[in-house]
């Protein structure tokens, strides 16, 4: 246990000196080891001083490890090297994933949810194996990527995902992760230069240890996922009543609408959702072979989605070897990780279709007309006698049929591997050479099969596949020279990096042969498949290169005054020669006040450090392909040829390009204070940052006739983020029987666009946030990016929103736009000049809270998260607002409506209604991510050194005033998302 607080140390290594006989401590910090009577055992743990104890005569040995004062706390990974945490000058947060207090963890980022100030993670809904959007300090770009750079064991990975896998972090089994280090400010990230504007997440995986005897660890769980909340739509009876009321007239449309009603009461949401089981199993073996530590692990995850038919299945394997040669002067690290994933996707439209599908119709029917659809009830076009004439291509499709008649399965595999060599020169031991060569290679193929009975593709069906290969290579090499001279300590590093990103893909799709395409009178194998896309036509490929030179100097004086300065020169193939290279400098200063004599003596502060940093980082991941500056022509597909006489000509379209496109760069200033008291039982840190991004990259309208497209990628202006972060960790109780940890973080971020250069006139804005009827967001100077740009709704005396075009209650005609919306410029019409900036999708404050109590063998943990000030456009509601004659029965089918839409009673008469601030809602929320309870056993059986069983509930509650399903929507526009399930989980971990 820890000498300072008596907390058990988990995973400390125990080795019988001079042998390879060893073990690890369990969850309670205990161990059992059979040794020879006079053996000496060595107990080691990272960050602690090793201890040697003679066992002679001792049956029960209590070992109290003391923290290694020299290394106080752990070493944290920074770019191209490590630094002692106390010597870090930048804003860096390192966490070790909590092995106990967690819910369902499928992907690496699930472990970071709410844990780190300034890191905001929005998961992509409840799709099994889904990805997440990670934003560090609010995102510095508009259209260019805002994703942080993720570095796994020194290998910067590519943000382009793997075909058929929603999450680029799927490759790593979360159980293999040793630690995360998040670099937030530019003084920390600038060493990664071109890819670091949005922060860096360094993931270090678990390594083997020199314990000799292999230790086997099993970790597994089963869980039940259930639907947490449904959207209230009308049931069959209510819908019949509504249709009869809206279409009560004698006109043909009224008659058709009423005749279209069925007699059932189908709850379509109930039909598509299910209770789904998931399992997750992991085994790893750690030990050493002769002097070479190794670790091998394998994992299996199967998650069934709460939408029927969807699932995610993944196998991972990982291996790590760290041999040393030449008397430890040459250290080699070999990492290899492999993943095989299989996903079945539910049709993306099914959530919406379940809301819209007519509840008066059955799921299946014996009616012979519907047997062509596999018995599923569907809307179709009828002849005058009611018989089948054709499919109704506009109509909403039976959601159950959508699920069962479409088999969309992906298979993907991915390999990430690297070899790191660190060589300490013989003639100059302070000099290290470090080489890291890595690669990522992935292959993903998605197979689609749509039955010929599906209305979407009746009568041809559709099947085919789409595949993408990815192959990235990376090499970096640096020399590092570290020297201490009296009170001066230097660490100088210089290096070079080369990265190549390559992707290609192709697809093939076809329907049945039903047309006599060669006109020989018979339909046979000589005819074309229906709508056949061949791999030959669809093949594509793209690549980019990054070449960089970088250097860093760490200097400290007297262990109190620290200086870090870095410089990186980056070249990207995504820019034209003249704009290609950019320099990214940084400098940071830190003052360890707690080391000053006037404080050191008083012992009040175990840690007190002031940090100041400045740095510039760049952005070249511009989301617009790899050749934005090159003029190219796109050749048309065969279905887009043009005819002169009887010959069809392929066409070549000159594509828009911007030869002036250049680096987006972000300058960050950061000031921080780290505090630790009571021997670091209470720690806290506070950061203020200011980030300014210039030459923002975005796709904007360009003046007509200046380019081959209306919108072109351009450097359009500047934006700034400033914010404060506060982190607080405490151990209020730390006794032998009971420990209590809690941690809390809060982030406040303000984002504002400061300059837009593409338009000079007042009122210039860049529209964004496209919905089905225009844009609801805009970028404009003085406002946060992605601000809502909408009409201001007016309300009647009863507080009901007034709809333009609806009849006035006094019968004096209809309301106009002028009645419905505030006329901002007091002219005579409501037009685009009357829109105003109203809130933003970005939260103003985010909070994370987690706590864990261990009492004897019991543990209890809870994680909470809150966002305040994030606004959401409720597109699910807006899209379905029309409960009038044009909204329910159109194009030959009936659309069900949410109860809230019926109460509102809008008729969909003015397009501006969709752009009203009425649909922009406050999405602030408090979410409980998980609650966990566990119990640990010791020496359960002879073979098991320790075990823990636990139960967790994930997503048990969400408190929010938002009227839709879930306000946690990245980007602030709530379309249909796969609802996040409520998960109940039972888990077991065993150390053998």
């Amino acid at each position: 246990m820890d000498a300072a607080n008596n907390e058990p140390i988990i995973g400390a290594s125990i080795l019988e000196k001079g042998t390879s006989n060893g073990t690890l401590t369990n969850y309670n910090g205990e161990f059992t080891l059979k040794v020879s009577p006079n053996a000496v055992i060595v107990i080691k743990y990272v960050g602690y001083k090793p201890q040697e104890i003679s066992v002679a005569g001792n049956k029960n040995i209590v070992v109290k490890l003391e923290e290694d004062v020299v290394a106080l706390g752990e070493v944290v990974a920074i770019g191209y090297g490590t630094v002692k945490k106390t010597d870090a000058t930048g804003s860096i947060t390192a966490i070790k994933p909590d092995a106990m207090n967690k819910g369902q963890v499928t992907n690496a980022q699930d472990m970071l949810l709410g844990k780190i100030a300034g890191v905001n993670i929005t998961t992509g809904g409840g799709t099994p194996g889904t990805g997440a959007t990670i934003r560090i300090r609010g995102g510095s770009s508009l259209n260019a990527s805002n994703d942080p750079l993720i570095v796994i064991d020194g290998l910067p990975i590519d943000n382009n995902g793997i075909k058929g896998v929603a999450n680029q972090l799927s490759t790593i089994n979360p159980n293999d992760i040793e630690s995360f280090t998040v670099l937030k400010d530019a003084s920390a990230t600038a060493i990664y230069g071109s890819r670091a504007s949005n922060g860096v997440i360094i993931i270090t995986t678990k390594k083997g240890s020199k314990t000799g005897k292999p230790t086997v660890n099993y970790e597994g769980n089963v869980s039940l996922n259930t639907l947490a909340k449904k959207i209230e739509v009308l049931n069959g009876d209510e819908f019949r009543e509504l249709v009869n009321q809206v279409y009560s007239g004698t006109g043909q449309t009224d008659i058709d609408a009423r005749n279209a009603l069925g007699t059932e009461n189908t709850d379509w949401q109930k039909e598509i959702y299910r209770n789904a089981f998931s399992t997750d199993h992991n085994i790893n073996v750690t030990g050493s072979f002769k002097e070479t530590p190794y670790r091998f692990s394998t994992g299996y995850t199967h998650q069934d989605g709460i939408i029927k038919t969807s699932y995610f299945e993944r196998y991972t394997i990982a291996g790590h070897l760290s041999p040393t040669f030449l008397n430890d002067r040459l250290k080699i690290n070999i990492n290899a990780k492999g993943m095989f994933a299989k996903n079945r996707f539910a049709d993306g439209g099914v959530v919406g279709a379940a809301l819209t599908m007519d509840p008066t119709q059955p799921v299946k029917t014996d009616d012979p007309e519907f047997q062509r659809f596999g018995g599923y009830w569907q809307w179709y076009e009828k002849n005058t006698d009611g018989s089948f004439k054709g499919t109704n291509t506009n109509a909403v499709k039976n959601p159950v049929a959508l699920l069962n008649q479409k088999n969309d399965v992906s298979h993907a595999n991915d390999f990430i591997g690297n070899i790191e060599a660190d060589y300490k020169f013989n003639f100059l031991p302070e000099l290290h050479a470090h080489l890291n060569m890595g690669m990522e290679s992935s292959y993903g193929k998605q197979d689609l099969q749509i039955d010929s009975t599906a209305t979407s593709d009746y009568p041809y069906g559709r099947w085919g596949w789409d595949k993408i290969n990815k192959s990235n290579k990376m090499l970096n090499f640096y020399l590092q020279y570290a020297k201490e001279l009296d009170k001066h300590s230097f660490d100088l590093m210089g290096g070079y990096e080369w990265q190549h990103f390559y992707r290609d893909g192709e697809n093939e799709y076809r329907g049945l042969r039903i047309i006599d395409s060669n006109a020989d009178g018979v339909i046979d194998e000589n005819d074309d498949y229906y709508n056949h896309i061949t791999p030959n036509e669809s093949r594509w490929a793209t690549e980019s290169y990054l070449v960089s030179f970088f250097g860093r100097l760490n200097y400290s004086f007297d262990g109190k005054y620290l200086l870090t300065t870095t410089l990186r020169d980056d070249g990207s193939s995504r820019f034209a020669a003249g704009n290609r290279w950019a320099l990214f400098p940084s400098v940071a200063l830190a003052w360890k006040i707690s080391e000053e004599n006037f404080l050191k003596e008083k012992n009040t502060f175990s840690d007190l450090k002031l940090r100041l940093g400045y740095g510039v980082t760049g952005q070249q991941d511009i989301s617009q392909g790899d050749y934005p500056y090159l003029p190219v022509y796109t050749i048309s597909k065969e279905t887009a040829t043009y005819q002169f006489d009887s010959t069809y000509y392929y066409t070549a379209r000159p594509d828009a390009y911007n030869e002036k496109i250049k680096w987006e760069s972000t300058t960050t200033w950061n000031a921080g204070l780290d505090v630790g008291i009571l021997n670091n039982r209470i720690t806290g840190s506070f950061d203020y940052y200011f980030r300014k991004t210039t030459n923002l990259i975005n796709v904007v309208s360009v003046p007509a006739l200046t380019n081959f497209r209306n919108k072109v990628i351009s450097n359009i202006g500047s934006l700034q983020n400033n914010g404060i972060e506060f982190t607080f960790n405490a151990k209020p109780i730390a006794t032998k029987n009971c420990t209590w940890d809690l941690s809390f973080n809060v982030t406040h971020n303000l984002n504002k666009i400061t300059k837009l250069t593409t338009g000079s006139q007042e009122g210039y804005y860049v529209p964004t946030g496209g919905i089905f009827q225009g844009n609801v967001q805009a970028h404009a100077v003085g406002h946060p990016s992605y601000s809502f740009y909408v009409f201001k709704q007016r309300y009647d005396a009863n507080g009901k929103p007034i709809e333009s075009g609806a009849p006035k209650p006094d019968g004096s005609g209809n309301y106009t736009d002028l009645d419905a919306f505030v006329n901002m410029n007091n002219d005579t019409i409501i037009n685009e000049n009357d829109k105003y900036f109203y809130k933003s999708a970005n939260p103003e404050y985010t909070f994370g809270f987690s706590t864990k109590v261990i009492y004897k063998n019991f543990d209890f943990g809870i994680n909470l998260r809150a966002n305040i000030g994030n606004y959401v456009y409720n597109a699910v509601a807006a899209e379905r607002l029309n409960v009038g004659v044009t909204g329910i029965y159109t194009l030959g089918y009936l659309s069900n409506k949410p109860k809230s839409a019926v109460e509102r009673g809008f008729q969909g008469t003015s397009p501006n209604t969709y752009l009203s601030d009425y649909f922009v809602e406050n999405g602030s929320f408090l979410r409980c991510d998980n609650i966990t309870i566990g119990y640990s056993f010791k020496n359960l059986f002879h073979a098991i050194s320790s075990a823990r069983i636990y139960a967790a509930i994930q997503n048990p509650f969400l408190i929010s005033g938002y009227s839709g399903l879930d306000p946690e929507v990245f980007g602030g526009i709530d379309n249909n998302i796969y609802p996040r399930p409520l998960t109940t989980l039972l888990g077991l971990s065993i150390i053998f």
């Binding site: 040459l330 490929a541 290609r580 002169f644 081959f708 593409t758």
Partner: protein, 543 residues
């Protein structure tokens, strides 16, 4: 020992030299979908295709412009919506934002159809400018002809800019500087000189490969410009309009023998393998569509799909979107009293109904079973008669290429326009050419339509009398060209669109009985997107 790290060091150095090179940054696209070289014939085809298709994949995918829905915002479809939904001819039942604004003449600079139309016309102009820059100075016969056609197509795009938006950005080359705004009258002048200048290099009428344009297209566009010269410049040019119209009438082009052939799947005649369809000789500029090779949601697909619903029999595609149908004023131009007397006996194709002989007209392609003439609710498709003018059926009865995608070409410019242009110009004061009268020109079309009554008298817009054969030209434009995407221009020329007019139609300005709307609506606003991006632009007055 020494050897060992010499080996290691060399390995490191070799690795660095082999795979790392600053020169790697000089890349060429490796994507087989793109090329860096100018392919003259392929870019030439693209200038034409930009009128027909919405992107490089067909029917949708890799759109030519950024907009929320590629097919919904195709060039022809947007053009059609702006010129038809704003008039006495068409009304649409859909809740699409652009439609909700156009039906009641209440559009703003944010209208997405206007924005997309403007952007697509600008892209067509820019690709044309690019082609002309790349082929500058090439004088072989093929290139000379191609250049003349591209200049024509660029002029046609500028014509729509002029007609709809008036004062627009103007450039004949590609540069990064925002182009200046040209005044409508100046653009008119440029168009006339550009058309005159390129005419000589174009094919003689009907000697070119079908689907390409010739001198007749040039003359017809000249005639159209001159016919509207008073609106565009303030100065009428009736003589010039009549002159160029007569050039077209006298050219090898003629009128299709059967009106309906013009709007059928085999309307390229022999090119479509049809020996029955006679439309080819009337099509001066058809926009090609083909069920397998030239697929789009934007043009003829839209015409056919948007006008049909499942109760309307067979129309050659499984697409029926129940949107556009006739306002009652259009029906009344064929049937002054459509709901009275013996008229109501059959209920499908109105050309087959028992009607007074004087009302008979092949062009009255309407469907009214379970329809009402009057439109009480815009959103109800069956209020208002449907039209069966456009179909994907072949005149020879053979099968088409696809059950979904359309073979019917859009007859974008056809000879009949020259007849009515001529007649109107003469009525307005042009001197008849070679004694050819306005009445003769109108009756050429009425004869072709097997109208029950030849015109005995023709006026500009006086009240018509079907019994005596007294017809007017503004109604004749509707009878011949309804739903062909030009009505707004004709109404403006007759002073029957914006401003204080005494001409009303149902739901004009959003009121069922119709009411006037301000005359600044005679021009569309410049889209907010370009006004925003190009500070040289001033918005059209009123918006």
């Amino acid at each position: 020992m020494k050897n060992k790290y010499i080996v290691i060091l060399s390995t490191v150095l070799t690795a660095i030299t082999l795979c790392s090179c600053v020169n790697d940054l000089d890349i060429k696209p490796i994507n087989p979908q793109v090329t860096q070289t100018f392919d003259q014939d392929k870019v030439f085809a693209k200038v034409y295709a930009s009128w027909a298709l919405t992107g490089q994949e067909g029917p949708a995918g890799n759109s030519d412009i950024d907009n929320p829905d590629e097919g919904r915002f195709g060039l022809y479809r947007c053009l059609w919506n702006c010129n038809e939904l704003s008039t006495d001819e068409a009304i649409c039942s859909w809740g699409d934002a652009e439609v909700l604004d156009l039906n009641p003449n209440n559009w703003t600079a944010m209208n997405q159809a206007l924005e997309a139309l403007y952007a697509r016309l600008a892209v067509t102009i820019t690709i044309s400018n690019h082609f002309l820059e790349e082929t500058d100075g090439i004088t072989d016969d093929k290139t000379v002809k191609q250049r003349a056609e591209v200049r024509f197509l660029r002029a046609l795009a500028y014509y729509y800019m002029l007609d709809m938006f008036g004062n627009v950005p103007f450039s004949t080359h590609i540069g990064t500087e925002a182009p200046p705004q040209i005044q409508r009258a100046d653009l008119f002048k440029w168009l006339i000189s550009e058309l005159k200048d390129s005419e000589g290099d174009m094919y003689e009428p009907r000697t070119q490969p079908y689907y390409r344009v010739d001198k007749a297209a040039n003359w017809l566009l000249m005639a159209r410009l001159y016919l509207n010269a008073e609106v565009y410049t303030g100065t009428a040019k009736w003589d010039s309009a009549a002159y160029y119209a007569k050039e077209v009438i006298d050219s090898p082009y003629g009128l299709a023998e059967n009106f309906r052939h013009l709007f059928m799947a085999d309307n390229a005649g022999a090119i479509d393998g049809s020996t029955v369809n006679t439309a080819q000789k009337e099509n001066i500029f058809p926009i090609a569509a083909d069920g397998t090779h030239t697929q789009t949601w934007g043009n003829s697909m839209f015409l056919i799909g948007s006008t049909h619903e499942s109760d309307m029999g067979v129309w050659g595609t499984n697409q029926g979107w129940a949107g556009n149908r006739a306002r009652p004023e259009l029906i009344k131009k064929f049937f002054p009293n459509p709901t009275s007397g013996t008229f109501i006996t059959r209920d499908t194709d109105m050309t087959k109904v028992v009607i007074p002989v004087s009302w008979k007209d092949d062009r009255a392609l309407f469907f009214r079973k379970n329809r009402t003439l009057t439109i009480t609710t815009i959103g109800k498709f069956k209020e208002g008669y449907s039209t069966i003018k456009f179909s994907n059926l072949r005149a020879d009865g053979k099968p088409t290429h696809d059950i979904q995608y359309i073979d019917m070409d859009v007859p974008f410019m056809r000879t009949a326009e020259a007849y009515l242009t001529y007649a109107e110009a003469v009525l307005r004061g042009a001197s008849p050419k070679e004694g050819y009268s306005a009445l003769a020109a109108v009756n050429a079309l009425r004869t072709r339509a097997h109208s029950g009554k030849q015109a005995v008298a023709i006026t500009l817009s006086d009240v018509e009398d079907f019994n005596t054969g007294s017809f007017n030209i503004i109604n004749e434009w509707a009878r011949e060209f309804f739903f062909e995407g030009r009505r707004r221009t004709d109404l403006i020329r007759f002073g029957m669109f914006g401003g204080n007019t005494n001409y009303q139609w149902q739901w004009k300005h959003g009121v069922q009985s119709g009411e006037n709307f301000p005359d600044y609506y005679n021009l569309f606003p410049l889209p907010a997107a370009d006004l925003n991006a190009n500070s040289n632009l001033r918005q059209n007055p009123g918006y």
